[in-house]
Amino acid sequence: MELAPDDVLGYVRSTAAFLQLALDDDQAHRVALHLARTRALVMALRQVPLGPGDELAEIFRPAPFPAEDPS
């Protein structure tokens, strides 16, 4: 069976406890394997140079901009 890296397993156990998610040992290992695979993918995303001007794809809008000015 593939083993999750210790740092990922430790992260899973501590964050799950913080979020009040009860995980037994087997499930913690399985979740850690998923997270370790995602971390490997994210490494590529981290290589993309994003500057302070690179904002989120969508930004909160309090209400649609009015079609007409108030009278």
Partner: protein
Amino acid sequence: MNTGMDIVRAVKGGEMLAEEALEHCIARIEATDSKVNAFTDGTFERALREARAVDRKRASGETLPLLAGLPYAVKNLYDIEGITTRAGSRVRDGEPPAAADAVLVERLRNAGAVLVGALNMDEFAYGFTTENSHHGPTRNPRDPTRIAGGSSGGSAAAVAAGQVPVALGSDTNGSIRVPASLCGVFGLKPTFGRLSRRGTFPFVASIDHLGPFARSVEDLAAAYDALQGPDPLDPGCHATRVQPASAQIHASLRGLRICTLGGYFEDNAGPTARRTLEIAATALHAAPGVEWPDAALGRIAAFVITASEGGSLHLPLLRERAAEFEPLSVDRFIAGALQPVEWYVRAQRFRARYRAGVQALFEQWDVLLAPATPVQAPLIGTEHIEIAGKAMPARPSMGLLTQPISLAGCPVVAVPLWPEGPGKLPLGVQVIAAPWREDLALRVARALEVVGAAKSPVSGA
């Protein structure tokens, strides 16, 4: 009776009652669903009321609406008045029935269509196979030992099996296009923000799309037109007016710049998927091999956003009832809930830049082509598939070719081709257009249908 619009024309012309069309449809469901397992709920009494209402209208000389008498069914994440929306999960079994129909169900009802039931799916739409442990797997009507694809597997299978001419599904990372490819039917994932999602159970709010399946482009376009309309109450519905497409599907392709996608899309396609793309490219005289910008990174960003939003959405239930979740996806939901927020924010910041790159690509091309799935339908229970000589985990890999496109929000028609000949397994091609240009994708899909490269016969299931 071949297609949904054949039924509509017959009902409007008085050659068939809507009630007769419904009876035919119910008989087909009863004859085939023990093999296919597409349906989770039947709404036959409601359907009878809706069909008789159409017939009464015609008898009294009223003008019939666009889809009068058309039987259809919806993925069971759409609200149906009086039925609990379970979204493929037994965790929601005790929830109260929906008080009203989803907006898109309401629109089809107003168009005279007849709802016959709800359809199987991966739990909470997190999967590409519809191997649902609670309701059983939906089986591919082209070969019942194989998956139907997912997460809208019940929708694609019901259409392929001839149970209904039209079905509705949802697509976050490929959940319309993957099952359409594997079951050999047409599927439309519209532009992100085109159709209202109100009254459906969400998965990933920032990527969720809804759309139709059908066995002909005419049916697909007619259903799509009936589904359109602004919805100011859905913050993710960005369309401000209806842009009908049906009338344009027969227009010439003259002047359209059509190209196949190379690079990532070639690297992650098996030999049959490549051959399928060649068939489509030859039929359309498409130019070869343009690169979709940052496709691999787009797939990663979609993966991260999906895990975070999906995990966060279900965190309260995961705390209390994780043991009742689908075993195939519960660990992924939990892993998503635990992802560092920096991953999610980075993925969303990347998405803005990604969108700009894709928009630039569509300044040079009108329509792009790529396989919809890396391989044809695997056997139910398959753990690994081989792509370019490399063993890949089967379930997540079915979305390798669809995820980069939906992250950009582009409209796509999945078109069924038969690379190994009639009666063998199908594989779909994605016909991709710039945002808000569903008309172009449908027009090209129709051209493939006209030349005989694309077709969706009723399976013998």
